[in-house]
């Protein structure tokens, strides 16, 4: 099913393991080089920056090519353009298979872009040919190629897309069945997410699925988050209110709304608990992220304290918790440590960290707009820069 040569992918997995061992200084440089020589990887997978560049440029080429086609079809009917778009999507798929078979592109940015654009073209074509496609139909149109791409190219983002499309299909497929269906909707979505998570958990380490490990990880995270969202009081109330036309007033709850407070509060706690118990990073981090969701949901309906006091107290509690956990884990206990994982690939994170800091904190007094330009002149700026050194 997978479009790539199995030996290449196996060698890639082996090389990743070897690189990991090499970075932790478990094997020597000579050994690492010998492994690289014995198991050559002939796939073209450039680094992240090139990947972004290739993604953007491929999108430019494909959209310009499409514009070219449209120019030829000027004055044509909507249906005609639709059929043309459909053929264009086939052409894109052909190009995708070509660069993978002949040029061995693997996560190069070009294959990512072509997969997205191909699905876009299919959906666009359907909308042009059949003037009104239901949301159910759109989701089905996205699900089929996305699922196919997931299996054929092992693309994790396609897996996410397919999962979302599946949920939309279920939602719009079941809702018309009546009020009973609407009532059980949250539980149905939760059940689906849980099953997906459980399946991924069971099979992600299966040898037959070894090429899909990245996909499994991403889908597991998503399944956990959706499992929570489907049972979250805020989501259930607001979504039912707007999509099922309940016209709830402020302070009013959906029928049996209290039921949803149970998963809203308990699920994150359960994730964190299981995450610590099983030493499972995915569960632990999802749980921690969802604590924020619990607080948000709670504050949205019950104002216990004004925002600024809640912020200050919450912040203090978080600092104190972080401090005490660090103290508790010095020296490491129960297999947990607070020391930085020894991974040189994470060195770049320091730069990212500094950018995040600059992004989130900039509440210094800014000069009033009127006086803005008085000292904003060119020479002043240059002088300022040298002044501080």
């Amino acid at each position: 099913m997978i479009a790539y040569n199995h030996t290449s992918l196996d060698n890639l997995l082996l090389k990743e393991e070897a690189a990991d061992a090499f970075h932790q200084q478990l094997i020597s440089t000579e050994e690492y080089n010998a492994i690289e020589k014995a198991y050559p990887v002939n796939l073209y997978s450039p680094n992240l920056f090139i990947r972004i560049g290739l993604f953007v440029l491929t999108t430019v080429i494909v959209s310009m090519g499409y514009a070219f086609l449209l120019m030829l079809e000027i004055g044509g009917s909507e249906k005609g353009i639709g059929i043309l778009t459909f053929f264009y999507s086939l052409l894109l798929y052909g190009a995708l298979e070509f660069i993978i078979r002949e040029k061995k592109h693997y996560r190069s940015g070009m294959d990512d872009a072509l997969q997205w654009l191909c699905i876009g073209a299919i959906v666009g074509a359907a909308n042009l040919i059949f003037s009104s496609v239901t949301i159910f139909g759109q989701a089905a149109l996205i699900f089929i190629p996305a699922f196919y791409f997931l299996l054929r190219f092992g693309n994790a983002i396609m897996g996410v897309l397919a999962f979302f499309a599946l949920l939309v299909i279920v939602f719009y497929g079941v809702t018309p069945l009546g009020n009973m269906a609407k009532t059980i909707m949250p539980f149905l979505l939760m059940a689906i997410s849980f099953s997906v998570y459980w399946l991924m958990k069971q099979y992600s380490n299966n040898n037959r699925l070894r090429y899909y490990q990245h996909c499994c990880t991403l889908i597991k995270i998503l399944a956990l988050l959706i499992l929570y969202a489907a049972g979250n009081y805020f989501v259930v109330r607001e979504v039912s209110n707007s999509l099922f036309n309940l016209q709830l007033k402020e302070g009013e709850s959906v029928p049996y709304g209290w039921v949803f407070w149970i998963p809203t509060v308990l699920l994150p706690a359960l994730y964190i608990f299981r995450g610590i118990q099983k030493k499972d990073v995915i569960l632990l981090r999802s749980g921690l992220i969802l604590v924020a969701a619990v607080i948000f949901t709670f504050r949205y309906y019950y104002h216990l304290a004004p925002l600024e006091i809640a912020l200050s107290i919450g912040g203090t509690i978080m600092i104190v918790i972080a401090y005490f956990i660090t103290k508790y884990l010095t020296p490491p206990k129960h297999g947990f440590t607070h020391a930085e994982p020894n991974d040189p690939q994470l060195a770049g994170l320091l730069q990212v960290e500094s950018i995040i800091v600059a992004q989130t904190f900039h509440h210094t007094p800014t000069p009033e707009p009127g006086k803005h330009f008085d000292f904003g002149g060119g020479s002043g700026g240059g002088a300022g820069a040298t002044d501080s050194f």
């Binding site: 393991e17 990991d20 061992a21 932790q24 478990l26 094997i27 020597s28 010998a34 014995a38 450039p46 680094n47 920056f49 090139i50 972004i52 560049g53 440029l57 430019v60 080429i61 310009m64 090519g65 514009a67 070219f68 120019m71 632990l284 921690l288 004004p306 925002l307 600024e308 912020l311 200050s312 919450g314 912040g315 509690i317 978080m318 600092i319 918790i321 884990l329 297999g335 947990f336 440590t337 607070h338 320091l350 960290e353 800091v357 600059a358 992004q359 989130t360 900039h362 509440h363 210094t364 007094p365 330009f373 000292f375 904003g376 700026g381 240059g382 300022g384 820069a385 501080s388 050194f389």
Partner: protein, 323 residues
Amino acid sequence: MNIPLFERLQQEGLISDTSLQKVKQKAGARLFSVHWELKTILYLGILLLTGGLGILIYKNIDTIGHQVILAVIGLICTSSFVYCERKKLPFATTKVPAPNSFFDYILLLGCLTLLTFITYLQVQYTVFGTAYGLATFIPMVILFFCAYYFDHLGILSMAITNLAAWVGIAITPLNILKANDSANAEIIFTGLLLGVALTAIAWASERRSIKAHFEFTYANFGINIFFIACLAGMFHFDSFYPLWLLPLTGAIFYFYKKALATSLFYFILLITLYGYIGISYVIVRFLVLGIRDFGIVYLILMYFIGSATGIIVFLSRMNKKLK
């Protein structure tokens, strides 16, 4: 760690027995690190606390409570700085590692509360007056001082952001795109100069090895500000737009050399994309204004298809060259 895999490698004679033992030992004794989880909690805690205190002051201005809040902020600020001063390793012009994983965040807390304090003094009593942007200048100086004295990249980024605010442009990464709608000629030239100045500081930091590891942060802000100012200038000034190709090409050349020297793909990607936008703009505009014929659209489309293909080839070559 996939033990069977390493056993196979050992049987094939690719790794030695000792290496296999090491791998097995490591796999058995692997500790579960909650480092990043703790750091994130700490970071968010500081974010919430300083944000909360900042609002709290203004809501309670003119009440007795606000003196208490001021005192609390002052206390947090002083104790943070006292902690950092005690714990810090001796100053050096090279990279000084943080003494523990808490240090960086305590320092951040100290700096942020200090800024809240200064802002309060300015708003309530106009301590620094309204002239010469002193209200932004002083926090900037403090931030630069802390960044160098305690060796902190995050605070350096904040200081640079502040520097830009002082000369009149908003440059946190997102605001670069949002706030600078390039309508003002003065801002464009300020941006150009600031970009050059930051790049020069980056160069000097490395050359003189004064905190050489700050170089990337300076260069990163410098390159982005410079290119955005350049493109903004190109879009803004109708009559001389091709002239802007000169600084653009200069910058592309400089950062290309730099990327080759440091093997940084990030700069390659930036110069490619910014340069492509600039050159394409000039070419398309020239074609549209020069030839008034409908067929020109085909030419433009062909240009984009051809040039983008060319750049894909270029990026692939660079990928091989810098490997």
